[in-house]
């Protein structure tokens, strides 16, 4: 790692040693689960179970128990799918793209962001799976050799690409996440006192001993996976956007969708990382590792992606007007002024207007405000998907078939169930595995730790005392 300028604020606060870092982070794993943890996990677990009941209900009685109809074939199901898959984008972006851009601040958040990705993709995948009329035939989606003659899936259909895009993304993300965790798991194994923990972490660590060969292989594998997953960040949501863009439906049939969806995905993914990290750093006392600077960096990305999304919305409106296509024009007029106007304006407020507040530095660095905004953005991005899906198809070409849609308890419960699963999974993860990549944090300690910065500063001051030129550029400590 190259030495870093002392002007950059430290990424690890406090004067930490390697041992301290291990202690700080592993503490959460080694301590007994608190009562609060049990209560919260039971609640989220129950919500998850309720979701499972809704899924069983759907399979048992049919999709007719949902509020979908003749005109609106997709509602909350695909809205939630796109929402979750969008959230699942931050993890890989942080792991892969920020790694390639040498953004050291990623190490504080990458582990939990990747975990979030895994759980979000699982939640996302449930929706296209269970929204099928005959889920027991879901394997028809795969190009498997069969005795029915040449019966293959339809390679023209974006839904089939979805199957591959999502499953590839999931498996690569899972590998990346787990590979990164192996050295940390080994650390916990070595520190474990109980036999069962030794055994469990022993298996999970895949026999890691920290030899030079292990580190060398670990590094190369990480690099290879980063290489593979970088295009995936762009491809997954691009393909998800094709689910709409390849159709003829006004409001769906748009070439702007791929970049617009990817930006939206990163936007919502970062919002979700913020939601989780703001809570985690507080609960697990990790403020030294996930600092306000981390939060600020993420907020900056939120302004960027939020603005891209905003531009996309305006471009869509302009295109509709400029095209002079009556169906397209009606679709957008209907979004803004039709019966679902509330979802459109919720989307506009949450996604376009509110992130602009982050131009103010004070707000960007305010943890509570950030937390509030992260929730707002998550809601806004949910509305965006709802607007795109439902308001486009509920009034398309033939007015006789125009209809309205509202979800039933089954769909709502299914969605709540995925939230329950997501929270439960994250809570269990935070209890079993280190939420911050210990090894990687140690990696940057010597370049970006507070002690290192102080030492650098002291050296500069010393030079200044000797009348060096550099004295004029001594910054004020932050």
């Amino acid at each position: 790692m190259n030495p870093e300028s002392y002007i950059r604020p430290p990424l690890i606060h406090g004067t930490k040693t390697y041992e301290q870092i291990t202690n700080d982070i592993a503490r959460a794993v080694e301590a007994k689960p608190s009562r609060l943890w049990w209560i919260v996990t039971s609640i989220t677990g129950l919500v998850f179970l309720w979701g499972l009941i809704a899924i069983t209900w759907t399979i048992w009685f049919g999709i007719g128990t949902w509020g979908l109809n003749r005109t609106i074939g997709w509602g909350w199901d695909i809205t939630n799918f796109v929402w979750w898959i969008g959230i699942g984008h931050a993890g890989t972006l942080i792991s892969a793209i920020l790694l390639l851009f040498r953004q050291k601040w990623r190490v504080g958040i990458n582990r939990s962001a990747e975990a979030m990705t895994i759980f979000a993709v699982i939640c996302a995948a449930m929706f296209p799976l269970f929204h099928m009329g005959r889920i027991w035939l879901a394997f028809f989606n795969f190009p498997y050799p069969n005795s029915r003659g040449p019966v293959w899936p339809n390679f023209n259909s974006p839904l089939m690409w979805d199957v591959f895009a999502v499953s590839t993304y999931f498996s690569v993300s899972l590998m990346f996440w787990y590979t990164g965790m192996i050295p940390d798991i080994a650390t916990i194994r070595d520190r474990a006192k109980k036999k069962i923990a030794k055994w469990f972490y022993g298996i999970c660590s895949f026999g890691w001993v920290g030899s030079a060969k292990h580190w060398q292989r670990h590094e190369s594998l990480s690099l290879v996976l980063a290489g593979i997953s970088t295009p995936l960040v762009l491809s997954v949501h691009t393909i998800v956007s094709f689910d709409f863009a390849t159709s003829v439906v006004p409001g769906w049939h748009t070439t702007i969708f791929p970049p617009y969806f990817v930006a939206g995905a990163i936007f919502s993914g970062f919002a979700m990382v913020l939601t989780l990290m703001v809570i985690t750093r507080k609960v697990l006392n990790l403020e030294d590792y996930v600092t306000v600077d981390h939060i600020e960096s993420m907020n900056k990305i939120i302004i960027l992606t939020g603005s891209i999304v905003g531009c996309a919305y305006l471009t869509e409106l302009f295109t509709a007007w400029y095209s002079q296509n009556p169906y397209e024009q009606y679709a957008f007029a209907n979004r803004a002024l039709g019966p679902y106007y509330w979802s459109y304006w919720s989307m506009m407020t949450c996604n376009v207007i509110s992130p602009q507040l982050f131009w103010v530095r004070k707000l960007r660095r305010n943890v509570w405000f950030t937390f509030f905004m992260s929730i707002v953005i998550n809601c806004g991005m949910w509305f965006e998907r709802f607007v795109i899906i439902v308001t486009s198809i509920h009034r398309d070409f033939i007015p006789s078939s125009w209809a309205m849609y509202s979800p039933t308890w089954v769909e709502i419960s299914f969605f709540l169930g995925t939230l329950g699963f997501f929270s439960t999974a994250f809570l269990v993860f935070a209890k079993l595995m280190p939420v911050i990549a210990m090894a990687e944090v140690k990696h940057i300690l010597k370049t970006s730790g507070e002690a290192q910065k102080k030492a650098q500063l002291a050296e500069v001051r010393m030079h200044a005392a000797h009348g060096s030129q550099e004295a004029q550029v001594i910054p004020q400590p932050i």
Partner: protein, 1060 residues
Amino acid sequence: MENKNHWKGLDELQEDPAFIEARDKEFKDELPVEEILESSFIQKSHSRRDFLKFLGFSVTAATVAASCRIPIKKAIPYVIKPEEIVPGVANYYASTFCDGNDFCPVLVKVRDGRPIKIEPSTSRHIADNSSNRFFFGGTSARAQASVLSLYDTTRPKNPTVSGHPVTKQNLAGTDAEVRTKLQDLKNANGNIRILTPTIMSPSTKAVIADFITMYPSTKHIAYDPISYAGIAIAHEKAFGKRVIPGYHFENANVIVSIGADFLGTWISPVEFARQYVQNRKVSAKKTEMSKHYQIESRLSLTGSNADKRAVVKPSEEAVAVLALYNKLSGNSSGSNLNARADQLLTQAANDLLANKGKSLVISSSNDSNVQSVVAAINNMLGNYGSTINLNLYSNTHQSSDKDVASLFEEMNSGSVSALIVYGANPVYDHWNGKGFAEAMKKVQTTISLNDRADETSAECKYHFPDHHYLESWNDFSPRNGLYTMCQPTIWPLYQTRQAQETLLRWMGKTDDYVTYIENNWKQNVYPRQTMYGDFQTFWDNCVKEGAVEITSAEEPASGSTGDVTSAVAAVSQLAGKSGGMEVSLYEKIGAGNGRYANVPWLQEMPDPVSKVVWDNYVAVSPKFAKDNHLEMNVVEHWSDVVNVKVGNISVELPIYVQPGQNDTSVSIALGYGREKAGRSGNKIGTNVFPLLMSNGETTLYYNAAVSITKANKHYPMAITQTHFSFEGRDAIIETTLGNYKKNPNEDVENKEELKKLWAQTLYPTQDFPAIKWGMSIDLNSCIGCGACAVSCQAENNVPVVGKTEVRRVHEMSWLRIDRYFSFPSDNGMLTKENDIHIDNISKSKVPDFQDVQVVFQPMLCQHCENAPCENVCPVSATNHSSEGLNQMAYNRCIGTRYCANNCPYKVRRFNWLDYTTADVFPWNEPWKIPGMNLENPGMTDAVTRMVLNPDVTVRSRGVMEKCSFCVQRLQESKLTAKKEGRPLKDGDTRTACQTACPTEAIQFGNVLEENSVVRNDHDDARGYYVLSELNTRPSIVYMKKVRNTDEKVATYVNREAKES
């Protein structure tokens, strides 16, 4: 020869021991069984790699094994095969659908002994439009649905006495009991009354006549719930003939209908619809069409098809008749009608005078004085003999309201000793039904011969249920000069007996009814024809063909001798009476006068005008709704409930805001609120027969003293189309006759340009080697009656889902009829939702909501050549055939619904729940889902499922379905042609919607075939494709609507505005 030894090699010849050992072993090498069993392979622990191999194999094997579902099939062969039945091949029998006043000669399709479909008659006396006097060659929705009522499990299963079932063994004893009673009455000279609806059957009439001869104190009374006695009385006064004349709309250039819904329900709608369109179809060669004026209070199906329409109150229809009479006779006395109606009548009068003898004026009024004036108008115009035929009069309605009234009096005074009811249900459908039930209690012996355990049968002591018509022999004469046959197509399902046979038994005769009919025809029909030399040939031909025409000498139409002045005076009297709100009471096109309440296909058939299913309602005008703060919420599918009060009778009904409805009156459909209709029909809607009023001579189908008050309640309404305007889009293209005449090739350049644009694609286009199936739908001929939709439902096993599911927008119809409103004004933009919103009524730019134009558009899968649904299906479950069909492989469908989202025409239907119980799990039927409160429409039991077409897959839950162009019929026609060793001809292949259509608006065939009907329509300048700009390249071409009006029509103006 036998001893010859063949050897394959020297070692075999020499019987080498090594060879013998090798020969006797199944496998060449030693199988390493021992080795395997003892080896480490079984005994030792395995590597991870092996574990993964086993896991992979077993998961794959389990998946493959689990997905191979083996359907259970039971086939029981005939021990002795009936000669005419070939399993899998349908037989067609000529018969006649006749139920009360509905009449339709049909072919019954029978598969393996089960009638499954009704087709129109192919008899030359009926189907040939060019040379015929009779136009019965179509079907109605009711005729189509009649096959379902056969399998109704709530039909009575045996005769009953005081509600106790009579077994087969005891039937003769019960017959004897009734016979003794009748004999006693005969001896005591006690009055016997037979109450029936109109009897169209000559042989049944003969049976009743015989019965009367045997029991002379008997009187036969005909009673129709919807009476047309006024017309008959008027003609008796004018021409001395108490008949409803035969109308001939095909000869009329100008039609003026005052309130008569002759395309929907009036007298003989199927016949009239076919006559009507003869003069409505236009082409570049024939640019003339009839002009149709309609004055009415509600928006009827006929009014929806009219060129010019004005609204008046129900009571003012008489005024309108009088005003027209005055205008025609040059009497300038002004009417107090609204300006538009008056202006329309002036125009109509001018047109009528210009088309003397080529015009027709009709009125729905049941007041004989009004009808006398109508007769006088037609007489004045010389229409008798050309558009009105007094010789070939109609037999469909022969009742007299006076007779029923006197029966009431007799019964109440206790002078009736026995009442035999056959086919009538006065306890439900008489305005004083309750009173009738009371009066029946004063009759000693009450006998019902109805085929249902209906309200009247329930009041009778004896009930001998009649057969369904598909189980019966019968004959009919709907018009003087036409005789049709009805023959059984299935052995009776239940222990029922033909009513005529029951009467014969009580006369002590043992004949079966078919012999009776044969004898009757031998004496009365056969001698009047000249075509056949011997009776047997004649009879066999009648049964085979189903119809015979008896030509009799035309009597010249005698001039009117009636006293019109007194009628005019009486009508003028009526004219002064109208005061406050009025209600018009009418019959529904589907459920009729209540007779078809228990037929789920008809209950779920959207009303052609309102698109409401499973209910009746108070149709109010938008202005009335606004003034009285009444709301219909089509988004949440409910509407406000109102109290309709007439005298001391009050009923509660939901409202329906109906554009085209008169502001100062409301209208309500009769035929709902049945108490004992059967499983699906009970308690659907509210009975409004008690609101009818009588003028002392006849029943009137409106009431002039109504008060309507808002009840603070909401009522759930199921409406299949909730958006009424076509938003000025090009889905509908209309023009005026004037424009069409000026430039018949108006849109040809557009079409050529379109084809050029269509060709601009990167993708290869599909080749169709021999056939490309296509359809054409003439919007000018389509009257929107809905027969095609019910026919499609019957042919393709389309499920009925029930009211709640329709409210949830889950209806399954493969073919729907879109109905759009527009204004006939110059302001073309007023087709947009925001402009026609009810809140804008007071604004000056919105024209009168009473004055709307309607267009109907049958919408079904367009079988696009470049189908948006096909490329989005992940598993290619929907794909394109080499004959241009967009086909569904149900087995392949996994139910992602993307195809439905991407279908611009929204014609794909998803099986949301297990509507047909096609699944093996009985517990997941929709109506068993906790908390959903879905009603069971009664279509899923084993008996009702006998109506299913075995050629069409019953779709399971989770599968997408849609119109297949009746692919089973296409295959059948190809096979027939192949068997006959000839190429397929145009007209060989007919879809279910096409055959059912009474107006021949739907045509089907091979687009690649030169000079086929569809090919010509596809090339015609009037033809256009819906949403053609999407490059879907539909296989269905719509022929644009031509209105015979000089005013510009909405879309046309809109298109012009866009272009300029």
